[in-house]
Point group: C2
Chain length 548, copies 2
């Protein structure tokens, strides 16, 4: 140590390292709060509501409870804003409440391969921190597990050590089940802009028709986003990783932690689609590796050889029954309900895989006319992109999101939308996965990985084609009406001439017969053309897709 | 504990908490590596080079050394890519090398209020992690402080505990001063696209004319970005926070950590522009607070009262001599050198403040014609936005960046640019601050805070006005030429007629006299119009600014 000290003082530059410090993840996010979504007064409030509601919806889903939530926002006389959120979820046991809401990088979700809204174990504690650094106050919590006991406490975070600081604990008998959080914030503001809490909850309701959500605004006005479906989404299930998605590093990590005694049984126990037959196949490809040895002895070159050989084998795609889409019926209902559009189409596509083994699925819909589209300053409508990830509305950072990128990459003219930015169109997209690759800890944008952008693009192109057929039909309908009017004018004159010429029958009778003839013939021709047009259109588009 | 256990087993839902875990920040970024910029093969390689070079440039600046760097990228036979970076900086003492490159949330930069490229204490360790999880290899380091001793080691990170794992250490005598890092990566790719390493270093050179940067590509080709200025940027200095930028939470934190014995001396020692007179003024505004007491006893309501009163007082703006802009001469030189444009204008604006007390400064420039603009697929040019923060090129996530937002918010038609996306224009912006509010840990976009977006917008509008004057001059020049040609044609005819009429003098002489007359008169009129136009144009724009 003496030597080191000498070096430090001796040379130019090592002065710098007198300033060397370590700091906690809470200190980091305290200084970089914008990374958690705490930037701007309106956005900060939306972030708070977002973190609490996603936690509630996740908890209800896992406990198989129909969610009922109340969110109350109050303006306090000192300029602070009080946010109260109460749910009817399973509650959080006293033993875990502190770490769940007062410690970053802790929780039930991070390590599990399961479709959930939250996945970081940062958000809830982030709100506790934000309350504390803007008002100095502790967050009040009440939790009931439904067993007749209710637990209450107040909580702050020990910023330096990333640990909960719990005070005023009490336990009493009561009927409450769920979680209630009451926190005060400064530097936040309630408004009804397109990035505000109202819009956030409206969008949450659209994608979660099984939830009953009540919002009480600072004015006291109450909005109820009614539950429109009694179907609780199926309980999410944890899935095993797929062999194609595993990296050498992952394989080593899991192997060194496993309880399995042999490499062969470890592989078949750990990965999906890894049958004993597959393990044998694999063993033949890497004869240098002893599959009977303990997984704890697996070395990097061996693991790398296994991972490389995995890529040369054929695999069944990962199981996708862990994915919980909203469902096209629900999306159709929600869009019709909220946008009252002229036309809606929802796509149903098969699950896909990204990074080799992470299953995902894209739900896309398009709505045209009615209240579709974004209202512009001049009261006209522009194309709107409504983004979701696992049913959570994404309201910020659209510019960095795979969904926006996919919409931009579509040649909308091909679908008879001359200018997306000036069309009365809403594009709805829900990205469903056991792991959403967010661009940041604020969880507002999905990383633009090629496989993801492409799949979203195809899903939207599918509904765009339906819209095109509808729009062409509309044009055709108008053309048809015009043509019919012209023909009918001739029919009238013709029938009079015919009556004159033949000298028998009333012109009115002849006209009626002729009109019927035209009407029948016309409908048939048009119908055939429409059918033909439809098929042709689809074919053409698919070919184009392949060319690109 | 028995009781708790009972509760957990008894009720529905608390099952969930059996899955409760804590995890380290390294585990978090291992799973969410895209948040560090490790998404996509090309981007990942750029991120690696970005992290190492910013560290080198920062170290050289602080040690007041003219930087000389070598970056070598090699494709290895097994598909891995080896990256070697060597600088002539001050080196890192052996005692700190482990934590500097093998521990996240540690470093010399995070807690200091000083203009630097890096500011998170995550990047260097992030590269060590990325090498390790993609190849299983340790990163090789060599550090020399210039004292004749050279230290070498290999390093990995203990992922679970966020601690460096150092092996193969050695120390020997040698002449080396600086840092050399050699690491292997998989899942990365070298290419020359607009997001690749070559472009990144080219842009780094543009904003750091005092650095000599050598790149050796996998093909063996060598590119030297020559040093064009021998002026080392002034050593960055640490500044005290400004009273207007401090939150109640910050004040409490700093007060509880200080060595000052009285609140009054604590305030004047800690904050910039906080004279004893100011402290007295403040004390009068909050008579309930005893300014003689220990800062350690400061309570939240007291601190809040102080912070609120601070806002009612007048303050001198924060010192801005800690800001280190590139300088308009250097920017002008760099743009002319690299873009060979028809026209360049660089703005020089005064420092501003965001979030109440964080000083920042915007350098903007516009280049038109020549190689300006982004090359499009059809070989035409479109408006290009070249973004920097503290001289570091920002190459990704443009859609979420305050700079892009500012460019979008400008009504380019007002500056005679009909369509920015189709104009041969490059807009160069460098955001300079002691704290850059990045949107994420990947450090590629600046948060869209209103004060920041507005200031960037004004800076760009300033240079856009200069471009407009140039473009109008060009149009006028063309008009003038056309008009002159017409007049001259008349002059010729007139002079012949005059010679005829007067019967004396050669037509050629008369023509010459007339031509001179026209030429002189014409220049004068045009010159006046230009002056008048200039003043008028500026006036109009400033008024519009205010209206918005």
């Amino acid at each position: 140590m003496e030597d080191e000290k000498e070096i430090e003082n001796e040379v130019n530059g090592s002065e710098i390292f007198k300033e060397f410090r370590e700091y906690s993840v809470v200190e980091f996010f305290k200084k970089n709060r914008q990374m958690l979504g705490f930037a701007g007064k309106v956005r900060s409030l939306t972030t708070i509501v977002h973190e609490y509601t996603t936690n509630s919806l996740d908890a209800c889903e896992e406990a198989h409870i129909l969610p009922e939530m109340m969110i109350k926002v109050e303006d306090l006389p000192d300029g602070h804003v009080k946010v109260t959120i109460q749910d009817n979820g399973p509650g959080i046991p006293q033993s875990h409440l502190g770490k769940a809401m007062g410690m970053m990088l802790a929780g039930t979700k991070f390590h599990r391969y399961m479709q959930q809204r939250g996945q970081q174990g940062i958000g809830g504690a982030g709100c506790t921190l934000f309350s504390q650094i803007t008002t100095g106050k502790a967050t009040k919590m009440r939790s009931g597990l439904g067993d007749g006991k209710v637990y209450e406490c107040e909580m702050k975070i020990d910023v330096k050590n990333n640990q909960p600081l719990i005070t005023n604990q009490s336990e009493f008998m009561g009927n409450f089940r769920g979680l209630r959080v009451e926190a005060e914030f400064a530097e936040v503001k309630y408004d009804k802009s397109e990035h505000g809490v109202y819009e956030y909850l409206k969008r949450t309701a659209m994608a979660n028709p099984h939830a009953q959500i009540t919002l009480i605004e600072p004015t006291g006005e109450k909005h109820v986003f009614q539950r429109v479906s009694d179907k609780i989404p199926e309980k999410p299930t944890e899935i095993q990783p797929h062999p194609l998605g595993v990296t050498t590093g992952d394989l080593i990590d899991i192997a060194h932690r496993t309880d399995s005694r042999k490499l062969s049984s470890f592989l078949s126990n750990t990965f999906s689609r890894m049958s004993s037959a597959k393990v044998e196949e694999l063993a033949k490809l890497v004869p240098t590796v002893n599959f009977e040895k303990s997984p704890k002895d697996l070395k990097w070159p061996e693991a790398e050889a296994i991972v490389n050989s995995v890529k040369t084998l054929k695999w069944i795609a990962p199981p996708t029954d862990a994915l919980r889409p909203i469902g096209s019926d629900q999306i159709d209902k929600a869009l019709k309900n909220i946008l009252a559009p002229e036309f809606v189409s929802v796509s149903e596509r098969k699950p896909k895989v990204f990074r080799g083994g992470i299953p995902f699925m894209v739900e896309a819909a398009i709505a045209y006319g009615g209240n579709s589209g974004r209202a512009k300053a001049d009261e006209s409508k522009g194309g709107d992109i409504i983004r979701y990830a696992n049913r959570v509305p994404l309201m910020f950072d659209g510019g960095s999101c795979a969904i926006t990128e996919a919409v931009k990459n579509i040649d909308w003219k091909r679908y008879d939308i001359k200018d997306f930015d000036n069309a009365p169109v809403s594009v709805f997209t829900n990205f469903v996965s056991v792991h959403v690759p967010y661009t940041g800890t604020g969880k507002q944008a999905i990383t633009m990985e090629d496989e993801i952008v492409e799949e979203i693009r195809y899903a939207i192109m599918e509904v765009a084609r339906d819209l095109q057929v509808y729009l062409r039909g509309k044009v055709r309908e108008m053309d048809k009406e015009t043509k019919k009017k012209i023909i009918m004018r001739y029919v009238k004159e013709l029938s009079m001439d015919l009556a004159d010429l033949a000298g028998e029958g009333a012109p009115a009778d002849i006209e009626k017969k002729l009109a019927n003839l035209v009407e029948n013939k016309y409908e048939k021709i048009e119908g055939d053309a429409e059918e033909a047009g439809k098929v042709e259109g689809v074919k053409e588009d698919e070919e184009n897709e392949k060319e690109e």
